[in-house]
Structures are given as structure tokens and as C-alpha cells.
């Protein structure tokens, strides 16, 4: 499995192929449509992160020493960004997820979606992904 950094660099390169925002958004929307959605049984009130604008569901499992994330959103643009994050962070070791940052989202021109005032649930989702990683890390050690 490639490292988080390698995957993030790969994503940045992919997005660099597009000159204008519309193509970037179209690509992101396509990614959102193709993301493995969360298993219906995990789409519960407990797993929901309520933004003012869109809802996000997150689920995590520990498989051996790696964390597997799945997530979903009712808004497709939010889901596209989730897809990007999960591609980079899912299947990685808890310690690496804890150390990861979201600067690559800025680099691909989607920074505005991670603004806390955007209220789409993404900022809380990232916090949640990190918290799962912290919890699994303490289980492993």
C-alpha cells in the first residue's frame, strides 16, 4: 500500500491536469459517485455528523493494523471530497492517519469546502477520522 503522502501527491497531480474549476469539480463529482458508499447498517444516527448544510456518515473498522474508513454524504460535492480523503487515508496505519494533514485539499483548489464556517460536516468528519485513528492506536499499543 502506498503511503498517505504518495497517494495525496498522486491526487494533486491528477487535479493539476485540469485548467479550470469546472473540470475539477466535474472530476470530483465523478469521484463522489464512484466512492464505495457506507454499508446501510452503518448509516445510523450515531454515525451521523450534522453540518448545517449537508450530512455526513462515517464508519471505521480496524483490519489487522490498518484502519478502513467508509463514509457517505447526502450532498454529492461533499461526497466527492470525502472520496478524496478516504482514498488517501483509508487502509493506513493509525499513527500515519494521526500525522496526516489536509494541505493537499488546498493544493487541489478545494480549500473552501474545509472551512469551518462552511458547515457541511467535513471539518467535523476529519476530526472524527482522526479520533478513530487515535482510538485504534491506543488499542494496538
Amino acid at each position: 500500500m502506498a503511503s498517505i503522502q504518495d497517494i495525496q501527491n498522486e491526487i494533486v497531480e491528477e487535479f493539476a491536469m485540469f485548467d479550470d474549476w469546472m473540470d475539477r469539480y466535474e472530476y470530483m463529482i465523478d469521484l463522489g459517485k464512484s466512492v464505495p458508499v457506507i454499508d446501510e447498517q452503518y448509516k445510523t444516527e450515531d454515525n451521523i455528523i450534522k453540518g448545517c448544510q449537508s450530512k455526513v456518515w462515517v464508519h471505521a473498522d480496524l483490519e489487522e493494523d490498518k484502519v478502513k474508513f467508509s463514509a457517505d454524504s447526502d450532498a454529492i460535492i461533499t461526497k466527492g471530497i470525502i472520496a478524496i480523503l478516504i482514498r488517501a487515508w483509508s487502509g493506513q496505519k493509525p499513527a500515519d492517519i494521526i500525522a496526516a494533514d489536509t494541505a493537499f485539499i488546498d493544493q487541489i483548489g478545494l480549500k473552501e469546502h474545509l472551512s469551518p464556517t462552511r458547515a457541511n460536516g467535513l471539518v467535523s468528519m476529519i476530526k472524527q477520522l482522526k479520533m478513530y485513528a487515535v482510538a485504534y492506536q491506543s488499542q494496538l499499543s
Binding site: Y25, I29, Q53, A75, I77
Partner: protein, 404 residues
Amino acid sequence: MLDIQKIRADFPILNREVNGRPLVYFDNAATSQKPQQVIDKIVEYYTLYNANIHRGVHALSQEATDLYEEAREKVRAFFNIPQAKQVIITSGNTHSINAVASGAHVFVKKDDEIIVSAVEHHSNIVPWQMLCERVGATLKVIPVLDSGELDMQAYEGLLNEKTAFVVVNHVSNALGVTNPVEEIIKGAHEHGAMTLIDGAQSCGHMKLDMQALDADFYTMSGHKMCGPTGIGILYGKEEALNALPPYQGGGEMIDQVTFEHTTYAGLPHKFEAGTPNIAGGIALGAAVDYLNELGMDNIAAYEHELLIYATEQLKAIEGLKIYGDVVNKAAVISFNVTTLHPYDIGTIVDKLGIAVRTGHHCAQPVMERYSIPGTVRASFAFYNTKEEIDIMVQALQRAVSMLS
């Protein structure tokens, strides 16, 4: 007839670009833009008159007080309020509602009922829920029909001898529907209940006559009628305001203070504790002048024309559904396109320079009523144009094709 190009020249922000495109501002229900005349008034106040009011004998304080009280008088005349002392200057519409709700235990007793409508925004629900908890009263809700109109038959059924207060917005912020407030006030009064009408969405868009309307309290938002933020109005009938205890204690709201007992100042000062938003109040006066210059009837007629045009154009988009598609409404259109999420649509059209509101509009019960996560809301003002509506419609079509 309004000269829209001339009017647009008064609003410097309309020259701005957003995401590389000329701004199309259709979020007027959230806040209106400000004409240069209002902006200049704020600068002029701090440049020439800044002083605390109602307390100094020096010339600056006197001049600032005069300007502030002139603004109050302008507001009085604008809404046909009998006396200037019935114009309470607050920090905004929410403050105005809370000022009444927090003292309304003098009107609402244990086991009484307060009636609100199903189309209220949170500002006109929560303060009344808090009052109910405090006094042991019950909140009753006028249901909304599929059309977005209030179920007036149900309202009649809710009224009884326990009804102590009826609170309804004049225009729903989430749907734009104008509620039959005259009839609602009349019904409440027939049962001896007090009334508060939330005018946040009506005050800059239609001619309002407080004496004709006959509400006991009416609340207005300054920043939604071309004034600055942080300023609002509470109107009340004189006897209602006299009966209402003060909301906050402090300077300016007192008559005599000793450690044993304090007597309160008369109206309006009883409700205006502390140093007010002086610049905001004076600038609100300038906003009133500006609206008067254009004429509220002209504004209402032109905004209605925009509403009709936009409704027609939007309906041409396949799968677009308007919530609150009725005749009697303000220039606000709340809609969804098929099952697309409003957040997605809002994000794409923002990229195209268009400011619309998306989400639940701080009125979650309304969204629940229609079982939707939210809507896209386009709300117009007199400085908007049909060309801008065309730009929005094109942007929406683009968003739909990207997202579907």
C-alpha cells in the same frame, strides 16, 4: 417607475466580481446591500459627531443625540407609528422578539397557550418556547398547507380562552409566503390575546402601517431594509410597552436608582439600556430616507415583477419544484431541482458569481414539513434585474447538468 440603472449606481458592492464574474446578489432575505448614502452616514457620524448620547451637555453629545432622535422620528413616520416613543431601537429583529418574550410573563400565565405558526424561523420559536418553560404555558402551532399558506381554519380552531399570545411572521423567510396577518391579529384580539408580528422579511419590501395593522408588537430588522447590521426596531402599542417590564438593566433605562429600589425611565428609554448603536441608528434613518425617495409602493411593484419573471423562468427548468408557489408572496423563491442537494447547487452557482442561500434557512420545522434537507432560496431586491435572473437560470442549468 424606478430607474434601476441609477439605483444600482448607488450600491457600490454591485460592481464587485465574485470568482471572476460580476456579482449577482440574490440573498436579500438574509441581508440587503447598502446604498452609498447609508455607508456615508456611518462615516460621517464617526468623522464629525461621535459622542455618547442622551447624557452630555456638550455640543457634540447634543448633536449626536439630535441625529439619533431624528432617525427615530424617520422610522416612526415610515411605519406610521403614532408616537416616536413607541419606536424602540434594538440591536436587531431577534433582540426585538426577545425583548418582548422575556417580559411576556405579564401577559402569559401558567396553563395559558401561545400560538406560533409552522413557518417561523428559529428566532420566533425559541424565545417563546423559553417563555413557555418559564411560566408553564403551552406552545400551539398553526399548521401550514402544502401550498405554503397557513391553515387558517386550523388557526380558528386553536384560538380559545387560554390563548394569551399569537406570534407569526408577516412573510416567511423560508418560503416567502405573505401570511394573512390582519386576519390573524383580529382573531387573536377577539379572544383577548396579545399579538407579535415578526416583520424581518416584510419591512424593506412593502409599505407597512402599524396603526392600520393593529398588532400589539411588531419587530423589524434594520439590515434587511438597507440599514447596517446590529440595528433593529421594536414597535409596540403604548399600553403594551408600558405593561412590558424592561429586558435589560443598566444606564439610560432608569429614572431613580438607590440600593433599595430603582424606578424605570419612560418609553422608549426603558428598553434601551446602555450606550446604543448610535451610528447604526443614524444610518438606519438614512436607509429610511433612501427607501422613501424610491417609494415603498414602487419598490413592492418592481420586486413583484421580478418575482413573476423569475418564477416563470425557473419553472422552465425540468424537475424544478418551488415551495410556497402562491400569489400572495414576497420576492423570495425557495426551490429544489429533482433530488439534487441544495448545497451542491449553491456551490456550483456560487462559482458562477451568484449568491443564493442554501440550507434550512434557520427554519428546520418548515423543511421537516416538506421532508427535505433544505432548499435553494433566491430572494430579490429592487436593485436586481431581469438580466441577473437570466444569468441565474443559465447557471442553474449548468449546475444541473454537472450534478445529474
